[in-house]
């Protein structure tokens, strides 16, 4: 069978970095092709060349057997190549049909004005085609993330049709990061349906999903091809080992280093309620314990964590820390009590990207590093350097801007900040999101080490496997209430044991 797309010997160099070296990929009709690799392996560079964002230094692109030159995103669109970005490109304050045809309104102009009726008709048709049952009049902010993604896919299919391409290629960049398990399943079903008419290139860090969904998976490593596997032969282990170029012998979540938590209770919740978010939540968190909070969006777990960090006010209930009842009304109060918080949005909420590492690491405690009114810069440097060494942060000096670090190293800076502040309880929302396999492993090791040193942690992981793998105990929430508590210290439950409590 003739491939729809063939990229041959693609090479691309950025100043100082060899991003791609003789990379080859093929995409056939009716296919979802996975593209995996660590951060910096070249996945996004490759698809951006295809989408016309970058131009390759060397190599050729063939579409349906014809050699093509793609100089800019418009060329790509004209050839039926579309991209759906991780950070969504739909405008929430506009209606679905307005979003679908944004920038292409000219097509609907009749006698100098927009023919809204025609737009609506066309929108209904295309939405039906992608299997999205909603009115084109709905505002996008009322849609969930999965539906928004489908709107973008629909838009790309329509654009391709306008360009008279009936077999488009659509690139999906980390589409599931913002989705919950349920939505992911629905998205996958839609994609499987759509591949009759569209070929997908699917980029993801979530290997499990890639294995489940993709007909073929390409692995990239350091800008080169590192294998291509069919659905039948592929497995997470296989991909993981190809991505890092070595077998991951150690068990993934370091369960053997897991310790029994201490008797001492550091944090206790008694009947905590926040209307429309969570109800009657009670649990105890012990010194050195890792507690996973599982549940879908809307289960109330996010709000519960935000309440513990003073960003959501409780309607009723009590929070106790070490035999003392406490009030937590703001993040600074939470911090004063010894609670730290790691946000899933590392770049906006975890770090101050444009400040150096040492300012970030010492920010919460800088008021303690003073001589009179003045900050002891040397002390800031010394403590930061200690943390850099201890956590093996890859940076030449503490004065490097966090902006210049990789995702994994940025996350280590965030952890270093709380480690240095000696918090007793650390709340972690998706601590390994957007972090590559190697760095993930190091972060797991760090979490184990912190637990051993007595820090108590509440984790909301990226997957059930992560939650189960890390935790001593798992609390599952559903519709704002605790629906199940599972022990994971003695033996690890299976994800299927968890699911029954989640949905």
């Amino acid at each position: 069978m003739e491939p729809v797309l063939r990229m041959e010997n693609i090479s691309k160099t950025f100043p100082g970095v060899r991003a791609l070296e003789d990379v080859n990929i093929e995409v056939f009709p009716n296919e979802i092709v996975g593209l995996v690799g660590e951060n910096g392996a070249g996945k996004s560079t490759l698809v951006k060349i295809l989408a016309g964002v970058y131009r390759a230094d060397k190599g050729e692109i063939f579409l349906r057997g014809q050699k093509v030159g793609i100089k800019n995103p418009n060329d790509a669109r004209a050839l039926g190549i579309g991209m759906v970005f991780q950070e969504q490109a739909v405008l929430p304050n506009m209606r679905v049909y307005e979003n679908l045809f944004l920038g292409r309104e000219k097509f609907f102009v009749r006698r100098g004005t927009l023919d809204q009726k025609l737009m609506m008709q066309e929108a209904t048709k295309i939405l039906e085609e992608v299997g999205l049952e909603l009115s084109p009049q709905v505002y996008v902010h009322e849609l969930n993330f999965m539906e928004r993604q489908m709107v973008e896919i629909a838009r790309n299919i329509w654009l391709a049709r306008q360009a008279r391409v009936d077999y488009p290629i659509i690139i999906l960049d980390e589409p599931t990061t913002v989705l919950e398990e349920e939505e992911i399943e629905r998205l996958f079903n839609k994609l499987r349906e759509l591949k009759k008419r569209v070929s997908f290139i699917y980029i993801s860090h979530r290997l499990k999903e890639v294995v489940e969904l993709c007909d073929r998976v390409y692995v990239l490593k350091d800008g080169q091809n590192a294998g291509c596997f069919f659905h039948e032969e592929v497995s997470e282990e296989l991909l993981r080992s190809r991505m890092v170029g070595r077998e991951l012998h150690e068990e993934y979540y370091l369960a053997s280093k897991q310790r029994e938590p201490a008797e001492k209770v550091v944090l206790e919740l008694r009947n905590c309620t926040k209307r429309d978010a969570f109800y009657n939540i009670s649990f105890r968190l012990h010194q050195g314990e890792i507690l996973s909070l599982c549940g879908t969006v809307g289960s109330g777990k996010e709000e519960l964590c935000r309440a513990l960090y003073g960003e959501v006010k409780l309607d009723s209930g009590e929070i106790w820390m070490e035999r003392e009842r406490v009030n937590i009304n703001s993040p600074d109060q939470a911090f004063a009590l010894g609670i730290g918080y790691i946000s899933e949005d590392r770049r906006n909420e975890g770090l101050i990207l444009h400040l150096p590492i040492f300012e970030n690491i010492t920010l919460p405690i800088v008021h303690r590093l003073v001589w009179g009114f003045l900050v002891k810069r040397k002390e800031q440097f010394r403590l930061s350097q200690e943390m850099i060494n201890k956590l093996r942060i890859k940076a030449p000096s503490p004065s490097v801007l966090c902006f210049n670090l990789s995702g994994g190293n940025q996350q280590k800076v965030v952890i270093a900040k709380w480690l240095l502040s000696q918090v007793k309880v650390l709340i972690m929302s998706h601590p390994t999101r957007g972090v590559d396999v190697g760095a993930k492993h190091e972060i797991y090791a760090l979490i184990r080490e912190m637990a051993e040193n007595g820090m108590a942690m509440i984790v909301m992981g990226d997957s059930f496997e992560e939650d189960i793998g890390l935790a001593n105990r798992i609390i599952v929430m559903k519709d704002g209430r605790i629906s199940g508590v599972l022990d994971a210290t003695e033996s690890k439950p299976a994800p299927s044991d968890l699911i029954q409590y989640v949905v």
């Binding site: 911090f335 946000s343 906006n348 909420e349 975890g350 400040l355 920010l363 900040k417």
Partner: protein
Amino acid sequence: MDKGKLLALSVVAVLFAVLAFSSPQAFLSRYNIGTLLDYAATYFIAAIGLTFVIMIGSIDLSVGGMLSLFTVVFVLALNYFGFWAYFITIGLGFLLGMANGLVFTKLKIPSFIGTFGTSGVFASLALIVSGGRPIGLRPQALSLLNPLTFELGPIKGSHLLAFVLFGIFFLIQNSTPFGKYVAAIGHSERATLLSGIKVDRTKIFCFALSGLSAALASIVLVSRMLSGDPTIGTPYQLQVIAAVVVGGTALTGGVGGVFNTLLGTLIITLVGNGLYVVGIDVYYQMIITGIITMVAVILTLDRTKIKVVK
């Protein structure tokens, strides 16, 4: 030194050189240099506190109103309470600045609107307290201004005050926890808040410092004019913002600082003074200041990194 500061510094040097060569008699005269320093000191002292407000990405539009009010308050206080006037004015500056900060943080009114509102309040208060007329200083109170008016060659006490304040604020910016928080908030308020920093308190303090520096600038103004004028502040408002922005402190927050403001003040005063010395009508001055401010923004911001301009 970063690009922005280097650029501002070279502009200062070029302006100075051009003026010194083109009309050395007028420009380099002792009288003119004295005037130049007088203006620079006033602008700088008024702008130095505002710098922190702009560093956190906010704005204080009430500096002009405060200047009007505080010149009146200072003169009245000198007339009736003598030396206590200094403490009264500075204390009031700090408190009214704090009020600005409270309106902003606790009532959650954007600083652009909040200080626009309080600016009107301050300007009106100035008119009410003074009865709408400039208030003269009683001759007995004149000696109380000696700390600002004494002269060492061409340098006056008020110039020294500006210099000392520069040192203090520079230290505050670079070497105190407060200064670190200001930079952190300017870059990312969410990340700072979630690091357990008392963000609201820091913001309020920024506004309080802006009020304090407006009070100090008013004191310097009075030492020059020997009267309190309830309308003097209005023309200062934009000049003071211009001084901060021209120096390279970004209105979006995070970038810049008091050294930038020093350079910005010098540029603004050199341009104003230069136009006068060269013999260009003062009416043109605002045009030139406006254009320079825009050019400064173009040069100091890396606008390729800004995706959306509103």
